[in-house]
C-alpha cells in the first residue's frame, strides 16, 4: 500500500493556496468600468509612448504631428463614439479574463483525467497484456474525474446563469429576431445550441463518464479478492460500452465546451483534435506519476519496458495531434473562406507566439527528444519531455479558448498561473490520495503475469 508522504501533501496544499490567491487576485484586479480600462491602458501605454516621444522629437516630426492632430480634430466626433465602444469591448474582454483562465486550467486537468479513463478503458477492451501493472496508477489519476466534473459543471452553470459572459451565444438577444443584436447564424444553430439543452448534454456526459469510472474502479478492487474472472469480464464489457459512449460524447463535448466559444466557426475534426491533445496529456501524466511512484520505491513490477511503451505513446500521440492540427489548419488556410479563416487570422495576428510556439512544444520537441529508442527508457528524459508536452497542451487549450473570450487582451499572468497552480495542487492531492486507497498492483488481473514479465 502506498502512503501519502506529508511533504507531497504540503506541497499540493501550498500550490492550492498560492493558486487560490492568484485566482482571487485576478478577479479583484479585473476592471469593472470603462474608466478603469482607460486608466489601465494609459498606464500600460503611457511609459512606452513617453520614451518614444522623447527620443524621436525632432522638428520635422513635431510638424507632422501637428498636421495629424488637426485632421484628427475634424474626425473627433466619430472617433470618440468609436473609442467608447472599443473601451467597452476591452472591458468585457478583461472581465472575461479571470473566468477564462479558471475555465482553461480546470478543463486542462479535467481532460487529463478523462483521457486517462479512456486509455484505461482501451487497455481493458483490448485485453492488453503489457499494462495491468499500471492499472492502479491510471485509476488513481481518474479519481480526479469526479472532482473535475463538479468544478466544470459549476463553471458551465455560472456561464448559463450569466454570472460571466464566456459563452457569447448564451446571450438571449442574439436569437431574438426583434433585437438589434439578432444574429442569424447563431439563431440558426439554436435548436442545438441553447442553454437548457447544453446543460442537459453536459450533465448526461459527465454522469456517463463518472458512472463508468465508479463501476470499473469498484470491480477492479473486487477482482483483487475474487475467486474467478467474473469482475474482469464485467469490466471488459463495460469498457467496450464506455468507449462507444465516450467517442460520441467526447466529440459533442468538444463542440459544446470549446468550439462554441466561436459560435460562427466550425471544424468537422474538432472532436478528434481535442481527443488527440487529451490522450497525449493523459499518457504523459500516467508516465510521470508512474516514474514518481517508482522513484519512491513503489511499483516494483514496472520495468524499463513499461516506461518505454508509455514514451512511445507520448511520441505517437504527439505526432497524431500534429497531424490533426495541421489537417485543420491547412484546409482552412487553403480554401480561405472568410467565415472559417477568421479563426486562424485571429490566432496568427493576436496569438502569434503561443500559436506557433505550441507547435514547437507539441511537435518538434517530442519528436526530436523521443525519437531515439534508448531515450524512451531514461526516466528523467521522459519526465522532462513530459513537462514540455504538458506546457504545450495547456497553451493549446489556451489558444482554443482565449481568442474567443478575451481577444487581443490576453496575457499569461497572475490569473492564468494562479488557476494553473490551484488545479495542479488539487490534482496532485486528489490523485495521490486516491493511490493510497488500494494496493498498487491489481494482483488478480488475468494478464498481470504477462504484464510483470513484459519485455520489449
Amino acid at each position: 500500500m502506498y502512503t501519502l508522504p506529508n511533504k507531497l501533501k504540503l506541497f499540493a496544499i501550498i500550490f492550492m493556496v498560492v493558486g487560490a490567491l492568484g485566482i482571487i487576485g485576478g478577479f479583484l484586479t479585473a476592471p469593472s468600468t470603462t474608466a478603469e480600462v482607460k486608466e489601465m491602458m494609459a498606464d500600460d501605454h503611457g511609459d512606452g509612448h513617453a520614451v518614444a516621444h522623447d527620443e524621436d522629437m525632432t522638428t520635422v516630426q513635431a510638424h507632422d504631428e501637428s498636421v495629424t492632430s488637426e485632421s484628427h480634430a475634424a474626425e473627433m466626433h466619430g472617433d470618440e463614439a468609436h473609442d467608447e465602444e472599443h473601451y467597452e469591448h476591452v472591458l468585457h474582454q478583461l472581465q472575461n479574463r479571470p473566468w477564462s483562465a479558471l475555465y482553461i486550467a480546470s478543463f486542462f486537468f479535467f481532460m487529463i483525467a478523462l483521457g486517462t479513463l479512456a486509455f484505461y478503458a482501451i487497455q481493458y477492451a483490448a485485453q492488453a497484456g503489457w499494462s495491468p501493472v499500471l492499472f492502479r496508477v491510471m485509476e488513481g489519476i481518474t479519481a480526479y474525474l469526479p472532482v473535475a466534473s463538479v468544478i466544470i459543471f459549476v463553471l458551465l452553470l455560472l456561464s448559463a446563469f450569466h454570472v460571466n459572459h464566456l459563452f457569447h451565444w448564451m446571450d438571449p438577444e442574439l436569437v431574438n429576431p426583434e433585437s438589434d443584436d439578432y444574429d442569424k447564424l447563431i439563431a440558426g444553430k439554436s435548436a442545438f445550441l441553447n442553454v437548457p439543452f447544453f446543460l442537459i448534454r453536459a450533465f448526461i456526459f459527465l454522469a456517463g463518464w463518472n458512472l463508468y469510472r465508479y463501476v470499473s474502479r469498484k470491480y477492479s478492487i473486487k477482482d483483487d479478492t475474487a475467486e474467478d474472472n467474473r469482475w474482469f469480464k464485467k469490466n471488459f464489457k463495460y469498457a467496450a460500452m464506455f468507449l462507444v459512449f465516450f467517442i460520441v460524447t467526447e466529440s459533442i463535448m468538444s463542440w459544446d465546451w470549446i468550439m462554441s466559444f466561436d459560435p460562427h466557426w466550425f471544424s468537422t475534426l474538432f472532436g478528434w483534435y481535442v481527443f488527440a491533445g487529451m490522450m497525449v496529456s493523459a499518457i504523459t501524466v500516467i508516465a510521470m506519476v508512474t516514474i514518481v511512484l517508482k522513484s519512491q520505491g513503489y511499483l516494483e513490477h514496472v520495468n524499463d519496458s513499461h516506461i518505454h511503451d508509455l514514451a512511445k505513446y507520448m511520441f505517437g500521440f504527439s505526432i497524431f495531434w500534429t497531424y490533426l492540427w495541421f489537417s485543420q489548419f491547412m484546409l482552412i488556410w487553403y480554401s480561405n473562406i472568410p467565415e472559417e479563416v477568421t479563426y486562424f487570422v485571429t490566432r496568427i495576428e493576436d496569438y502569434n507566439l503561443p500559436f506557433f510556439g505550441m507547435v514547437v512544444l507539441n511537435f518538434v520537441f517530442p519528436v526530436l527528444m523521443l525519437m531515439n529508442s534508448d531515450y524512451k527508457r531514461v526516466n528523467w528524459f521522459v519526465v522532462l519531455t513530459g513537462i514540455v508536452i504538458l506546457a504545450g497542451h495547456y497553451i493549446d487549450v489556451f489558444n482554443m479558448i482565449m481568442p474567443a473570450t478575451v481577444g487581443s487582451s490576453w496575457f499569461i499572468g497572475i490569473p492564468e498561473i494562479g488557476s494553473l497552480m490551484f488545479f495542479f495542487g488539487l490534482f496532485v492531492l486528489v490523485v495521490f490520495t486516491a493511490l493510497t486507497k488500494a494496493p498498487l498492483l491489481a494482483r488478480r488481473n488475468p494478464f498481470i503475469k504477462e504484464s510483470k514479465h513484459f519485455h520489449y
Binding site: F326, F329, M330, W333, Y334, S335, N336, M371, S373, H455
Partner: protein, 178 residues
C-alpha cells in the same frame, strides 16, 4: 582456409533460445542461426550488436525532406509560379503549408525505400541470389544453429549440443574460401 562447423537442428523456438544462451555460456562461438520466422529476443541472446538501420533511416528521411523542399521550390516557385486559389506562388515560405504533405510524403518515401535497399545490401541480398541457408527445412519448421567447431573436441561439443535439445547434429567440413 578450411573450417569445421557443426550444424545443430532444433524444432522449437523456446528450446533454441535456451540452447543459444547455454552455448554462449559455454564459450562456444555461434556463427549463425537460421530460423523460419523472426524469434523474439534471439539477437539479444546471440549477443549481436544493435542495428544501426534506424540511424540511416533518419538520415534518409532528412535527404527526402531536402529533396522535397528543393523540388517544390523549383517547380512551384522558380520555374512556373501560378496563382492557385488566390495564393500566388512567389515565396516558398508563404506557400509552405501547401507543400507540407509533399514534404511529408517524400520524407517517408526516401526513408522507407532507401532503408529497405540498405537492408538488402547489408544482408547481401539481391535478385537471383542463391539461397545461403544450409538446410531447406529452416524455411519450414526447423531451426538451425551453426557452431564454429574451431579447435574444440568435436565429440564433446556434439554431446553438449544434444544435451541442449538438438535433434540432429552434423559436422560440416567447409573447404571454400571465405
Amino acid at each position: 582456409m578450411a573450417s569445421k562447423v557443426i550444424h545443430a537442428i532444433y524444432n522449437d523456438d523456446d528450446i533454441l533460445l535456451q540452447a543459444v544462451k547455454q552455448v554462449r555460456e559455454a564459450h562456444y562461438h555461434i556463427d549463425e542461426v537460421y530460423t523460419p520466422f523472426p524469434v523474439h529476443g534471439l539477437e539479444k541472446a546471440m549477443g549481436l550488436a544493435d542495428t544501426r538501420i534506424a540511424i540511416t533511416s533518419f538520415m534518409y528521411g532528412l535527404v527526402g525532406l531536402a529533396v522535397a523542399i528543393t523540388m517544390m521550390n523549383f517547380i512551384m516557385i522558380e520555374d512556373w509560379p501560378q496563382d492557385i486559389g488566390g495564393k500566388p506562388s512567389f515565396s516558398y515560405i508563404q506557400n509552405m503549408p501547401a507543400f507540407v504533405p509533399i514534404m511529408f510524403e517524400m520524407t517517408v518515401f526516401f526513408a522507407a525505400h532507401l532503408m529497405v535497399i540498405t537492408f538488402y545490401m547489408r544482408s547481401k541480398l539481391w535478385p537471383f541470389k542463391k539461397a545461403e541457408n544450409p538446410d531447406v527445412r529452416t524455411t519450414d519448421d526447423h531451426f538451425l544453429m551453426v557452431v564454429d567447431a574451431g579447435t574444440h573436441d568435436i565429440s564433446k561439443v556434439s554431446k553438449f549440443l544434444s544435451d541442449t535439445g538438438a535433434l540432429e547434429i552434423s559436422l560440416i567440413e567447409n573447404d571454400e574460401d571465405h
